[in-house]
Amino acid sequence: MSDSRLHTHTYDNGLTLVAEAIPNARAVAFQFQIPAGAVTDPQDGQGACSLLEILAYRGAGSYTARELSDALDSLGLQRHGAADLEYTTFGGSLLREDLSEALSLFADILLRPHLPDEQADTAKTIAMQRIAALEDNPSQKLFVYLQEAFFTSPHGRSTLGTPEGIGSLTIERLREDHAQRYRPMNSILGVAGSFDWEELVRTVERLFGEWAGEAPPLPQPETEGRKRYLHLPKEDASQMQIGVAYPEIAPDHLDFYNSLMAVQVLSAGMGSRLFTEVREKRGLVYSVFASNRAVKDSGLVLAYAGTTPDRSQDTLDVLLAELKRLPEGVTQEEVDRARTGLLSTLVMQGESTGGRVGALTRDLFLRGRVRTLDEIRGEVERVTPESIQRHLEAHPPKEFTVVTLGPAELEVRE
């Protein structure tokens, strides 16, 4: 990935188009990122972004819901997208020759949805069912509650919304909300794969040039006064779900690559520390991992383990011990493996249009610009065991927020 494959264009209305050419690709992936996420849902209407995403496809422009769905299908579009914490995404992947036509359908979906009266109740039923279905997905439920325990700002909200919020939203309020938040300023359109850049810039200008306005700003993430331990009892679960979160620096921080590489040492390949200590040596789990996560202007590390109840205290103890042991130092070999793994992942991600489009839009959102592979390689190569240790001494993993789900309440021994 050299600079010449990367293109960006910001339109007068604030929409940014970012695209990466992938030579020989037969497909193209695109993703709209709209500034309507759970963090900017109305306080008494949590779930609005989720409802708007459901309703967007139920008739738009000159199309009925059925016609719209058939038109997307006839393009062979593999649709992706969902309401998320800080934004809602729309898009998908398809063969390169159909890109313009797909973008034109999405101009209707995003700018001219019908939001009809008669669909409001159905959309609410669907949103409520998604909340109910969370009960049958214990690991997903764990992460919803871990996020809620960790953030004291609206970043702790579930992207699914709340039953009360969804219940109280009327179609009139949703229309007002759409008018407020589905706006071009700070919206992103990412494209990756095979395309003609000049033509793409013109097509997007034609379809989205008249769009105007700015959504309300994102709140600042806060973790001050967060919960330290939360247990969600579920007596009949076979496994305990264990989640741990602690604060880290944001992705645009100068030291970010030291933080990233430290977590890679902890949990990248199967030779990394958590996999070795928790699974390979002790056989405590099938699944264990840690990873860097970020919201705009803030970072955190999430760790997870799933294990049967009578081994769960041991598992939590070993997991936390490994996190706390990090600032004692990492070896050169560990750093070398982490670097090789990270760079290999990035090169292989470059082979996938869907993988690249997600990375492009996320980079632009979190950092305000897109990094090239050469830049990331340079940054990663500067990381040494010493630089990681300096970072970890300043930002040691501590003051964990722990959430457990299952039959056994555990003791958090820090």
Partner: protein, 409 residues
């Protein structure tokens, strides 16, 4: 694309689809063995063995194995199904020889007693994990019931009892029976070097001896009817329905795939409009799976407990209606196009191509380019899709409901 193939002296076939423009290369050992090749007392051994393969060899300690994969930045894993055990990985082209050498060595594992006992705990955790996942649990139970005495009724994971009782020597005996070179394919994809791969494969497998590795492929006498697995562990009612379909060796599978996609794709299908779009079920799909000598249609839905009966009725009525009225040209076209686009996306990386290239050879000794695969999908006419749909034997189906419900018809 360049297609390579050679059969080594010991019966091991090496084959690949070479793409010099790719940024990575992928390779895999495809072993033709799985749950259907097990006897009841060793249920779960194929999958447990797949774990043990990563636990070292005569020349490699277990802890070295993971480190070596990490040193070359390999993206790798393995899976065990009813009928295949596949070990696969991708690396940048300069690491081809280390990846090939490492996997090749692992294919002759030590199966040390101490590692066996530690890994047994991991397998028991994996079984416990899936017990908390209703979709997996229900599909497993429905398949077990539907296939009756057919070996496809066997469970991939086994039970806590069979895993606990399993002895290291039983695993070794199974390994000796099933991991003969003539029962394995070494498959390559992407930007690989063919000459050196063949030379290295020959060297690594020099001492491997061919053996008889039979597999029974009996016909299916499907178990039919309706069953309820009552449990308060789950909040939703989960429904799974199975009927006979077309095998990997049957050309009609393309039409069955297209018809199934029109009936039950996650969006834009008949199931979508009847079940998901109006909010009657929170999830509903219908699909067709081909296996060795056997095929099956599967439908799945989850919903509020109060709606279990209407959802179960709709799952079958939508099918019946489609059989009577037929799918429209537009529906079949949408299904074809989405399937073709899906195949294209899947083929973007060498890792994605590896699976298609390998399975085409394992099941049919067939070489197919991505374009061949797409053309076969796009060639299915509405007439063919409707004919295949009408032939679907609704009366030979099994429906199982699981969750907080008393009865189901």
């Amino acid at each position: 694309m360049i297609y390579d193939r050679i059969e080594l002296e010991n019966g091991l076939e090496v084959l690949g689809e070479r793409n010099p423009d790719a940024k990575s290369m992928a390779l895999g050992y495809f072993v033709r063995t799985g749950a259907r090749d097990e006897t009841p007392e060793i249920s779960g051994v194929s999958h447990f063995l797949e774990h043990m393969v990563f636990k070292g060899t005569e020349s490699r300690a277990p802890e070295r194995v993971n480190l070596e994969f990490d040193e070359i930045g390999a993206k790798y894993n393995a899976f065990t199904s009813d009928e295949n055990t596949v070990y696969y990985g991708a690396v940048l082209p300069e690491h081809q020889s280390r990846l090939l050498g490492l996997f090749g060595d692992l294919m002759r594992p030590s199966l040390r007693e101490e590692d066996f006992n530690t890994e047994k705990k991991v397998i028991l955790e994996e079984i416990a994990m899936y017990e908390d996942r209703p979709t997996f649990t229900l599909m497993d139970k429905t398949q077990e019931w539907f296939f009756g005495s057919h070996p496809l009724a066997n469970s991939v994971l086994g039970t806590p009892q069979t895993i606990t009782d399993l002895q290291r020597d039983q695993m070794l005996a199974y390994f000796n029976r099933r991991y003969a070179p003539n029962n394995i394919k070494l498959v390559l994809a992407g930007n690989y070097d063919w000459e050196s791969a063949v030379e290295q494969a020959r060297e690594i497998t020099r001492d491997w001896r061919p053996d008889d590795t039979p597999r029974e492929i009996p016909g299916v006498q499907p178990q039919t009817g309706v069953r309820v697995e009552r449990t308060d562990k789950f909040n939703r009612v989960h429904l799974c329905w199975i009927a006979p379909g077309y095998s990997e060796q049957d050309e009609r599978r393309y039409a069955a795939d297209v018809a199934s996609y029109a009936i039950g794709a996650r969006r834009g299908s008949r199931y979508y409009w009847a079940l998901t779009e109006p909010g009657i079920a929170d999830s509903a799909w219908f699909d067709h799976y081909s296996k060795d000598g056997v095929g099956m249609y599967t439908a799945y839905a989850s919903c509020d407990p109060a709606k279990a009966q209407p959802v179960a009725d709709l799952m079958r009525n939508v099918l019946r209606e489609a059989q009577d009225e037929g799918l429209t040209e537009a529906e079949v076209n949408g299904a074809r196009r989405k399937l073709a686009a899906g195949r294209t996306l899947h083929a973007e990386s060498p890792m994605g191509r590896l699976m298609s290239v390998g399975m085409n050879w394992v099941y049919r000794r067939e070489v197919m380019t991505l374009d061949d695969e797409i053309d076969r999908t796009l060639a299915v006419t509405a007439e063919e899709a409707n004919a295949i749909l009408r032939a679907l034997p609704l009366e030979q189906s099994a429906l199982m409901g699981m969750g907080p419900l008393e009865e189901l018809q």
